[in-house]
Symmetry: C2
Subunit: 401 residues, 2 copies
């Protein structure tokens, strides 16, 4: 299926070969939902790269200008889909052609990164995007020109390839610095090791960057829901107090903005195991934003939304109304600064924050002029957050959607 | 024992009560090694706090000026002990007295943080230093004055208490944001869960911040050595290639400068289980410094050196001589910048880098004018680092001490 789509695009693009300046095709007025390819995983990614490479080779053999079609990753090609409730990319693409002076280097870089990923998949290995940068970096023979000078160059090309190949970077064998930990009533198989996630001690299971089915198999999951906690330190309080046991849930943190591995695992727990996802963050604009990325995806990585976003995720706190509800002393609130106010107003304007309750929530923060960290609850008692705050929020269904 | 020492200091300090300006006693010319208290753990910490509090209470009841003696944490009271090969604190202390206008607030903060830690220990809980800040923060009744305004205030007091009570913050129930992962032929008991560290999948065991004997019991360890790897992404390559299995070792990373939990665990593996420790870092001044902190401890946290430093740790790479030895292409070296040069020269001047081999190593970097990241080895092959580089370095005993 996915292969067919690439082939179809190929035909369309042939026509634009006539314009060697490489003008991008205009963004379609009506954005259509990008189809999720039915296949996925490293094998799929490898065949996608092969198809990509064959096209280049075929053009070269015919004496034509080899070119690649890369979906446009720009705000102009991104929109919030109100029906699916995620941030999606449109269908606009750009041609990257070899015989165009302004595109030749990028073209070369794209094929190099593609070849690097293909080699990685052949060896059945995974690596970091920094490592791939080094793998692809060399001085072109007979010149003093490097294929890449900075990692930013290869990072951009990786994102291009993710979209063009309809494969997450994890499927291409690439991972980010892992962050985040998890415990709860689950048994997984990770690279052949069976791991009982109720027996992970104080540290928890370090969530790897690649959590796709071929690496992490969820063998058993009897939890009723998942709580994503913004900070590792607060997560630790939940683990120490055995919150996950008392409430039969999975608790996970992502050390701030959760990394891709954590987001993808949330997605899997929600979509494959039907677990509701609750997000527990600081009451500040950055907390709202963490929630928003988990729920709708982000603008810069819109092409991943379908594989990452959990549109049903619920914001369980902290809310601007909690200080009053839970009688939090003023001394532990923090005055918002200019940056907070600007960010809160920006977020209030996002299409996906237009629900009345959300407008109230953000207006309340702006009106009170204070923000609140999760740790502020410790002014009442070290375990107030696990014994009183969250149980009461859950019982009263006191969350935002 | 430890209690006695505190009592001894108490007597000495009584004399300085005559100087309410709180002048610090002069640093002793000859620095004596701070004795390691024989007792340790939370029970020890609790009794230390009680002794501290009793002293304050006794003075108050007698109508005297309550005061606390805090060892001086300043460069003037820190030195490299060439015999024990760690950075140590001297015996200078400062008096913090309640009836001194310039010290009253700090005195109050010190007792508050002490009380907070005592409460934490009573509840047998642990928490983050941020959480403790919130726990101790309130508006003083009848005033508009807060006990603490910024976390930096309570952080400093925590370090003071660590030294004064001769207890690591972990023993006071405080932890830092956990970072780092580990795998290898070990079985540990973590909070009652038995964990086989050969069966941790791709993510590894997330090293918690508190790894003291009462939390983490090392039940079995058959490894021959430990490799501390600077970066999580490179550690992952080692894990994926099962380096730990092929070389019967423990591999651990600390996500850059290793956090206290990782350092303390290295200490335990070295001192309790006799494992040699090898440090594998980028070839740049920051890599040298990571090695140095693991080995000798740091100036700012000199009071922890005895419990954290591994003076026998070996620097296995990357060395400034490796580019030539391993035929690394120029394209993947990075030109040093001004900051690198300044830092390298600083490090070259440290007393603990005076060995001839180290001077050569640093001089070579300065002469070549380039630095090298671990990932640069991937320009040869993704697994060059695990299959060729490190095995050869180990075989040839090609390391620095």
């Amino acid at each position: 299926m996915a292969k067919k789509k690439v082939l179809r695009k190929k035909k369309v693009k042939r026509k634009t070969d006539a314009k060697p300046s490489g003008a991008s095709s205009p963004a379609p007025k009506k954005r259509t939902k990008r189809k999720k390819s039915s296949a996925s995983g490293p094998a799929h990614a490898a065949s996608q790269i092969d198809a990509f490479a064959s096209k280049v080779a075929a053009a070269a053999l015919k004496g034509e200008d080899p070119s690649l079609d890369i979906p446009t990753r720009a705000l102009s090609n991104v929109a919030f889909n109100a029906r699916s409730r995620i941030i999606e990319m449109g269908d606009a693409t750009q041609t990257r052609s070899f015989f165009n002076l302004g595109q030749a280097k990028k073209f070369m870089q794209t094929t190099l990164v593609g070849a690097g990923c293909r080699e990685l998949l052949r060896q059945e290995k995974t690596t970091s995007i920094r490592d791939l940068f080094y793998h692809c970096k060399h001085t072109i023979e007979g010149t003093r020109e490097n294929t890449f000078d900075e990692q930013t160059e290869s990072d951009v090309v990786i994102e291009d390839l993710e979209v063009a190949l309809e494969s997450l970077r994890e499927e291409l064998g690439l991972f980010a610095e892992p962050k985040g930990a998890l415990v709860g009533p689950m048994v997984i198989e990770d690279k052949g090791d069976t791991i009982d996630l109720t027996r992970m001690g104080s540290g928890g299971y370090a969530v790897p960057s690649i959590v796709e089915e071929d690496v992490i198999r969820i063998k058993k999951c009897t939890a009723d829901f998942v709580v994503l906690i913004e900070k590792g330190a607060v997560w630790r309080r939940f683990n120490e107090d055995r919150f996950w046991k008392r409430h039969n849930c999975v608790i996970v943190h992502g050390g701030g903005q959760p990394p891709r591995g954590v987001r993808r695992l949330l997605w899997r727990l929600h979509h494959e195991h039907g677990l509701p996802v609750f997000v527990l963050v600081d009451n500040d604009p950055w907390g709202y934003y963490i929630y928003s990325v988990v729920k709708q995806g982000s603008i810069s990585l819109a092409f991943e939304s379908q594989r990452m976003a959990v549109p049903d995720a619920k914001f369980i706190g902290m809310s601007s109304f909690d200080a009053e509800k839970f009688d939090i002393p003023d001394a532990v609130t923090i005055r918002v600064n200019e940056r907070d106010v600007r960010r809160a107003k920006e977020i209030r304007g996002y299409p996906w924050f237009q629900k009345k309750e959300w407008q109230k929530e953000i207006d309340r923060m702006l009106k009170l002029g204070v923000k609140l960290e999760l740790e502020a609850l410790s002014s009442k008692d070290f375990s107030f957050i696990t014994e009183t705050y969250l149980p009461r929020k859950l019982r009263d269904e006191d969350w935002l959607d």
